[in-house]
Amino acid sequence: MDRRGSGRTVLHFAVTGALLGGGVASGCTSKDGPKTNTAHVDEPGAEAGQLHINPGPDKPKPDPQPPTEDRVNVGPEDEPKPPPEEKRVNVGPEDDAQKPLDKAPPDVSVNPGPEPQPKPEPAPIIKTNPGPTPEKPK
């Protein structure tokens, strides 16, 4: 497919009749399906009115956010103002033990962290046949 000579690259592409025939009429015209990243890009607005294909992309779910946050043209957000500085006098470190705990702390693991020791499993009951038969209480 590629011919290089005298500093000029020429790519060669040939199509035989091997792919002729077949194809099932479906009436779908959408160009919003699987594609290659370098495929031709339609002019803005050219996709309007086209049918969806199967397989097509998932239908966009309604965005729970307010519409103003769904714009493509989003300008830089204002810097959040720093909270007003509290004047604190003689404030020592808070005692963690005094903090109310609404619920148990999440089970967060650190990698690499200590691996919890596996709990000793109960000894398996192995029966053999013929085995000793428990003596009947007299």
Binding site: L11, G21, K35, T36, D58, G75, P76
Partner: protein, 294 residues
């Protein structure tokens, strides 16, 4: 205050440390000098037409980040071997770089465009070209069957087609910046296609007969879909028995191809590379091609 377009938003700044991490991970090759682009050498219609294509490519590359991260997530859930995840991680960072390169190129081509026609540089939330992966509670076989379809569609077909298309873009581009951007992306595409062929080859033997048959049915849908998005409405009947040569011409070109060039590259690559490789994996690719929806 002027609102930024989607392409500008893509290129927005993070923190200094994140920028450094990003450059170290993502900017593996020397970054093209976009500032050096001399737009005055080209008329505005040519620059706008190129911006439409490059901005669309930026959206598509960003879509690949979306697709490959979901694929990575699903393969992770299926407990695939780590080398697969490692190779896929490379693809994800490549796609981030490609999106960045294409967005920069679009803005370089038409710097006045964001003010006059911001729609060209729009950036919609990405959408998957295939169904969502199975939810929680599904077994590994279901997850791998889903991954096989996604890999077949995005890598074996999509990335395999991207390579000759980018090669053509690099050849026809008369501007050195456009050619440099295309070549930098092109260097990765072969790797991406190889990831697809290798991973699909790994998954198919693990699939049941039913799952393989379903994949062949899905393959027909993929072929129909990619033909619609890539062949520019030109049918196989029009190009069968023909050939073309693609080379730089005397006309200025900022990295765009014509519709007939797209169609010829699509059908020639499907015929000579995609379908034979799928057949070699034991899939009835030519049968699926004949059953594709049109």
């Amino acid at each position: 205050m002027t609102a930024s377009t989607g392409a500008e938003r893509m290129l927005g700044k993070a923190t200094d440390r994140l920028e450094r991490m990003h450059r170290t991970t993502v900017h593996r090759d020397p970054w093209p000098d976009f500032e050096a682009f001399d737009g005055a050498r080209y008329d505005v219609a040519l620059r706008r037409a190129a911006a439409v294509q490059w901005a669309g490519r930026a959206r598509a590359e960003h879509g690949s980040v979306h697709q490959f991260t979901i694929l990575s997530h699903t393969l992770c859930r299926a407990r695939i071997e780590l080398p697969v995840l490692g190779a896929l991680a490379r693809l994800i960072t490549d796609e981030v770089r490609h999106a960045e390169l294409c967005a920069e190129m679009a803005l370089a081509c038409w710097p006045e465009g964001p003010d006059t026609e911001p729609e060209v540089f729009r950036w919609e939330p990405p959408r998957l070209p295939w169904p969502q992966p199975p939810g929680g509670g599904h077994d590994e076989a279901s997850l791998l069957a889903w991954a096989a379809e996604a890999i077949l569609s995005s890598c074996c077909v999509g990335e395999t087609l991207s390579r000759p298309m980018l090669e053509a873009v690099a050849v026809v581009a008369t501007d050195p910046l456009a050619a440099a951007v295309a070549r930098q992306i092109l260097r990765d595409e072969h790797l991406h296609a190889t990831f697809g062929w290798e991973t699909l080859g790994l998954l198919i033997p693990r699939m049941s007969d039913d799952a393989r048959q379903k994949l062949e049915q899905q393959m027909a849908q993929v072929f129909g879909g990619v033909e619609r998005t890539t062949a520019c409405g030109i049918g196989i009947e029009t190009v069968a028995g023909t050939d073309i040569e693609i080379a730089a011409s005397d006309e200025p070109n900022l990295g765009t191809l014509s519709d007939p060039q797209y169609a010829m590259i699509f059908f020639a690559t499907m015929e000579s590379e995609v379908l034979p490789k799928l057949e070699a994996l034991g899939l009835d690719a030519f049968g699926a091609w004949r059953r594709r929806p049109m």
